[in-house]
Amino acid sequence: MELLTLTAQFEWILGKSNYWASTVLLLIGLHAMISKNNLIKKLIGMSIFQTGIILFYVSAGAKHGAQIPIVHYGHDSHESHDKAAHAAEHAADAGQQVAEAAAPAANHAANHAADATHTLGETLYVNPLPHVLMLTAIVVGVATLGLALAMVQKVYAAYGSIEEDEVLDAIADSTADSTVDSTVDRTVKGTPEA
């Protein structure tokens, strides 16, 4: 009895582990973004922060005992019976490993093996939608990283440092030196409108 509750607890933890890990990664990244002094470290933090979110989404679409979301080539609708049997087998496999979570699915699949089309989606393939979303998120992430790195190079060119406190000091110095607004630069004031 005690053993059973222990297994149940363990499974509960396993069922949450990815979400917890994604939260931890997210917090590590966010903390680095806020508190690191070095701009490149901030950006590494940013990437870690984003992967935390991606991990969350991908975990949301995971399924025990399911295959990668590619329909096997050459199988057609008349073979779907075969597929459902496959699915039941897979689910049963998974059921042995993580009994509680996948067992209903296995039963479900086995019961409806004849009525194939409705059980296919549930067990055979992983949910593809989060994958699609996260492809986009990864690409957006690298685009932001590229632009931010360009900004870091520009900051370095302007102030000779990529440590935030040094940059802020340099900015304070430069504004103390000149009362001229830096947005209205010299070329603007010098040349009249065409």
Binding site: K42, F49, I53, T144, A148, M151, K154, T183
Partner: protein, 516 residues
């Protein structure tokens, strides 16, 4: 043709931008004509869409042709769709219109401020408009994130293209913007894991249908993350750190495009999330965050106003006024009654116009005097009558004096505050208006004063050089036209207060009615 208008609206600036990159890589002269042409088509399409919405009600446009069929995923949306209701349609006209008018000003500045990068600037400018319109038009939560990132990336680049000082401001903006967008994405993820769809309408129906779902902590956290993300992007007070420097050090044409549009579109997105995604019933009957958020908004209003008062830099002052205005709108939206939300939605329109008006006038004045402090206004009424007229209209609207639109939107906000019994919000609104009055009348005083008595001795405006070759050159015609149009818009939106308010009220009514 008519039913394709929403797509044409999105694609005109998009094709313009891509076409510039494809055909005009080494022809800077082509930049402005393409910007004007593309934006003009967009405005036209937006106006036609608005007319269509007014005639036939909400438009739904299914991309990739995946209609909702009962046999296909039980009538849920498998593709992405546009949904244009009355308020959206109005904002969709506003965005390209402001961009188009701002392009008149941009034309005179492009070659000076972005020499050698004209084409790049024009591409980014058009794509920013695409991103902003796309956020308003889409009915898919994840698609909203993608377009949010497009508008963010373009705005980072549009600010970062500026001079030295812009670099660090942009870096901060990138950090804040990414956190905001990622929070939004996380909130959408929390909704997705509990509901299973990304379509805003479908999520709303699922939430309405099941009270168990509404009880879940993760849905509450989703609402919290989405709101926090949007507040970061719009610069609500404790999260406003990026805003003043980013708008101040950007190229002037970027400032006058982004200041009126970007924060305001974020408010529109917030309103849409509140009304169409979570539903007002859920937010106000079940969550009851109103006291906290209205409290934050009050602090934002006061802080924005007083920081603005402390600024010596004109553009910095305007940036802090935006922070205060964001407080108005967030507070109004979270008052939770019809008047409050009407006021917030109305204030989106009026604030966009008056901020635009002020930024244009200030840009003209700073350019002509070469000074960025309040002292730039010395004798401005005599020297730059048009710019000062526009400035006055915008300022009066900020203060909230009657025929201008600022008065009417603030009026609705006040009524909302009184009805909701949030007296501290009402008080903050009044104090802020008073501070604005002090702020602007101080400027008018400087501008009207003929003789300046300072440590440098007496100073006569008439003695200033009249030489056109000097820095006192005339303001370009494009800028003058842009300022006149902007000032007219401020007055028009004010005079049309009754139709606009009833329009917004019907929108809220319809949106709430949809909920069972």
């Amino acid at each position: 043709m008519m039913d394709q208008m929403p797509t044409i609206l999105m694609l005109a600036p998009f094709i313009g931008a891509v076409g510039l990159s494809l055909l005009a890589w080494r022809r800077p002269a082509a930049a402005m004509p393409v910007v004007f042409g593309a934006l003009a088509i967009t405005v036209l399409a937006a106006v036609l869409t608005l007319r269509e919405v007014l005639a036939n009600g909400t438009i739904t446009y299914l991309l990739s042709g995946w209609d909702r069929l009962p046999e296909r995923a039980a009538g849920m949306a498998v593709g992405i769709e546009y949904k244009i209701d009355a308020f959206n349609a109005l904002v969709l006209v506003l965005i390209p219109a402001i961009a188009l008018i701002n392009a008149l000003y941009l034309r005179t500045r492009l070659a000076v401020e972005c020499a050698g990068k004209e084409i790049l600037y024009a591409i980014l400018y058009l794509l920013l408009v695409v991103g902003l319109c796309g956020m308003v038009i889409t009915n898919d939560a994840f698609n909203l994130y993608v377009l949010l990132e497009i508008s963010s990336l373009t705005s980072y680049a549009l600010i970062g293209i500026g001079r030295r000082r812009a670099a660090h401001a942009t870096f901060n903006y990138i950090m804040t913007g990414t956190i905001g967008a990622s929070f939004f994405l996380l909130g959408v993820g929390y909704l997705y894991i509990q509901v299973g769809t990304l379509n805003i309408g479908d999520i709303h129906e699922a939430l309405m249908a099941s009270s168990e779902l509404r009880e879940l902590a993760s849905i509450k956290v989703a609402a919290m993350m989405i709101m926090a993300g949007l507040w970061l992007k719009m610069g609500l007070f404790p999260l406003h750190g990026w805003l003043p420097n980013a708008y101040r050090y950007a190229p002037t044409a970027t400032g006058s495009l982004m200041a009126p549009l970007v924060t305001k579109v974020m408010v529109v997105v917030m309103l849409r999330m509140m009304v169409s995604l979570f539903g007002l019933d859920y937010l106000f009957a079940e969550l009851n965050w109103r006291p906290v958020i209205v409290g934050i908004a009050c602090v934002a209003i006061l802080a924005g106003s007083f920081f603005a008062l402390a600024q010596r830099d004109i553009r910095g002052m305007l940036c802090f006024l935006i922070v205060a205005e964001v407080g108005y709108m967030v507070g109004g939206a979270w008052l939770g009654n019809e008047a409050g939300i009407t006021g917030a939605a109305y204030h989106v329109l009026s604030d966009a116009c008056m901020t635009f008006c002020l930024f244009l006038a200030v840009a003209a004045i700073i350019l002509r005097t070469g000074e960025h402090r309040l002292s730039a206004f010395r004798g401005a009424f005599r020297k730059m009558p048009v710019a000062m007229a526009a400035f006055t209209v915008g300022a009066l609207s900020m203060v909230g004096l009657p025929p201008t639109c600022g008065f009417f939107s603030k009026w609705y906000l006040l009524i909302g505050g009184v009805e909701a019994g949030q007296w501290h919000y009402v008080a903050c609104l009044l104090i802020s208006s008073l501070v604005n009055a002090v702020l602007f009348f101080r400027i008018f005083e400087i501008a009207l004063m003929k003789v300046e008595v300072e440590e440098s001795g007496s100073f006569d405006v008439d003695a200033l050089p009249e030489d056109p070759e000097d820095r006192w050159e005339r303001v370009p015609v494009g800028t003058i036209v842009a300022m006149i149009v902007a000032a007219t818009a401020v007055l028009t939106i004010g005079l049309l207060n009754r139709p606009i308010a009833s329009f917004i009220a019907t929108w809220i009514g319809q949106a709430v009615e949809v909920a069972p």
